[in-house]
Symmetry: C2
Subunit: 378 residues, 2 copies
């Protein structure tokens, strides 16, 4: 699809705050005063309020899912999927995306100001869960006058939110498209997150989370991001992209960057530090690690009350969230007689595929959404 | 096999040093004065000097492959495989294991004293390669009066040395048993090592490698080890060992250890710091990353001059050194008409399997060695 001037979608981040005096109750039992949620919308809500689609972002994402912010050269994180005529067709649907609670892109998080003392929360920000992210989004859609969602979708941690939505609010969610995600974090998934957290907390600049206004724990956060990036790519795609290409000729005296892959990881680490808050990294990875739809019960029972249609998408080379995990969800849905389509997309890109394999993703989602919209009788 | 008092093998680490004035030439072209190699031997060299077996250790291993040091409760790293009647049968073979050059367990490395100034080398220690490790071992076996090796074997980086031996000294190596290893580091393998190095170098206590006698970069080295441990286990074995077991009941305020897997990784990281030198970690991982038998040529050509018999062992769930890499070696050997046996052992333990799947490993190696010994006409 060509992007002409006429097609460029200008996006703007807006903010929703809970009314004064209305505390936001968290799953931990604690409350947050003045919850603030950054969000964007694309397209128009129809008269029946039946065309709302909620997109949920991944660990390092934000509310800016599509279009361009004024003056920006890069569009939102799922831009090839959201816009006129695209998979999430803004000519038909009203698409919403919000920054998660605990994040650092405009919503309440550890870098927000604690109203009780006028200072950034840091570690005094309460622990949040994927359920809290979903409940905060529910506040937002209620504010927007929406009672039912035509679809909730997202990749990676966004997919966890989508699944949580379908389980938590079965009567609100018409359809659910979890992509490259899981129903509960495995020991290995927890372990990778824990290494990232340890890298951040090992940085003296982290200072128990109290660093705002001073030096930030950039080295620790950079290492955390590097670990992440390895898990986002497949071994094959790394070989194809970097192989053993040497950046510098001579043997690495002083341990400078020699291999292309080293330079790539360092670059990714360094650029992440400029746009992300280390404490948010701690809070969000903890929320992912605690995510467990199954808990002590059977996955079959989890979806008993579900009324949504499902399109479940995985990628063949995704070893961070391997297809086997979502296949368990598909099985549990099928055992409940729920309408579910499963597609494992053949791709070399690893976990990153959900942000790259737009052509296949778009077709799958476009037709699924159209059918859902028809079935809903509109 | 029962371990009775009579069977307990007492081991002792010995040291070899190059004669005064004899510099050790490295692949980089630099030289090292007074090369020192820590080593152990088990069993006796026969009159024909035809029963010598060299074992090569992995990244964090040492010369102590088998038996017990006086007063120790834990045996050497491959003890179930080395001893009377075991796979590497010390009633038949003379087994040698030495600490690699660049290491920190008695051989010359960055924590050795630089004779030119009487201070620890730190980063002034020259860069070493897997080839340098092999050449240092060659010095040692010459010193021990050995001209031919019945077998060279090792797992992980030990397997790289075994392969390097077979290619570098085809007329000396009767047989080669590479286990859970590769012929060249892939981009992903480099990437994981680079994260470990970055974690160490991000620790202010690292101080550009100049920390001996002061505070050591324990937090950075601990994070590096944690990354390593994730790659040594399979996702399945992590799930079986830890699952989502919670160590502490309540949600992790302050980000303390909650999940069993977090506690395990922190414990492993902390205990590693007590026994390993951070600079050695940098040097050894760099040597692994530079390991590339193929270089720009064909793998087929690499083994053209080889005269060894091969037993190649991989493990089904090893995703750090996946079987596909050694299968390439098997193919190249077969294309050269070389006698090679390949076995992929079905195991859930991931890369760690080479230190755990002793029963199958032992049987495979025992018979292979016996046959090699017979074929060699002794």
């Amino acid at each position: 699809m060509e992007t002409t001037d006429a097609q460029i979608m200008v996006a703007e981040t807006k903010f929703y705050s809970t009314p004064p005096g209305e505390d936001f109750l968290l799953e931990s039992g604690l409350t947050l005063k003045d919850l603030r949620i950054a969000y964007e919308t694309y397209g128009k809500l129809n008269a029946e309020r039946s065309n709302a689609v909620l997109l949920c972002h991944a660990l390092s994402g934000d509310a800016h899912a599509a279009g361009y912010h004024k003056g920006d050269k890069k569009p939102g994180w799922w831009d090839p999927m959201v816009g006129p005529g695209k998979a999430f067709d803004t000519d038909k649907y009203y698409v919403i995306c919000s920054n998660i609670i605990g994040g650092c892109k405009g919503s309440s998080g550890p870098n927000s100001i604690n109203p009780s003392n006028g200072k950034p929360y840091g570690l005094s920000f309460p622990i949040v869960s994927v359920g809290d992210m979903v409940n905060a989004q529910k506040k937002l859609i209620e504010f927007l006058g929406i009672e039912r969602l035509l679809c909730v979708s997202g990749g990676s941690m966004g997919g966890m939110q989508a699944l949580d939505w379908a389980v938590r609010y079965p009567d609100i969610v018409e359809s659910c498209i979890p992509v490259a995600t899981t129903y509960k974090h495995s020991a290995q998934q927890i372990a990778f997150n824990e290494v990232g957290r340890q890298a951040i907390m090992a940085d003296p600049a982290w200072n128990s989370g109290d660093y705002y206004g001073g030096e930030i724990p950039s080295r620790g956060l950079s290492v955390a991001r590097m670990v992440g990036h390895i898990t986002y790519m497949s071994s094959e795609s790394m070989d194809q992209k970097f192989g053993r290409m040497i950046k510098e000729e001579k043997l690495g005296y002083g341990f400078t960057t020699e291999f292309e892959v080293e330079g790539y990881l360092r670059y990714r680490g360094d650029s992440f530090v400029k746009r992300f808050d280390a404490n948010s990294y701690l809070y969000i990875t903890k929320a992912m690690d605690h995510f467990d739809l199954q808990k002590d019960g059977k996955l079959y029972d989890v979806f008993k009350a579900s009324r949504s249609r499902f399109l479940v998408i995985t990628f063949s080379s995704d070893w961070l969230y391997p297809p086997v995990q979502l296949k368990e969800v598909v099985k549990a849905l099928k055992m409940n007689g729920i309408d579910v389509t499963y597609c494992e997309i053949s791709s070399n890109y690893g976990h990153d595929a959900f942000l790259l394999e737009f052509e296949v993703e778009s077709k799958l989602i476009k037709f699924f959404l159209e059918k859902t919209f028809q079935k809903a009788g509109r």
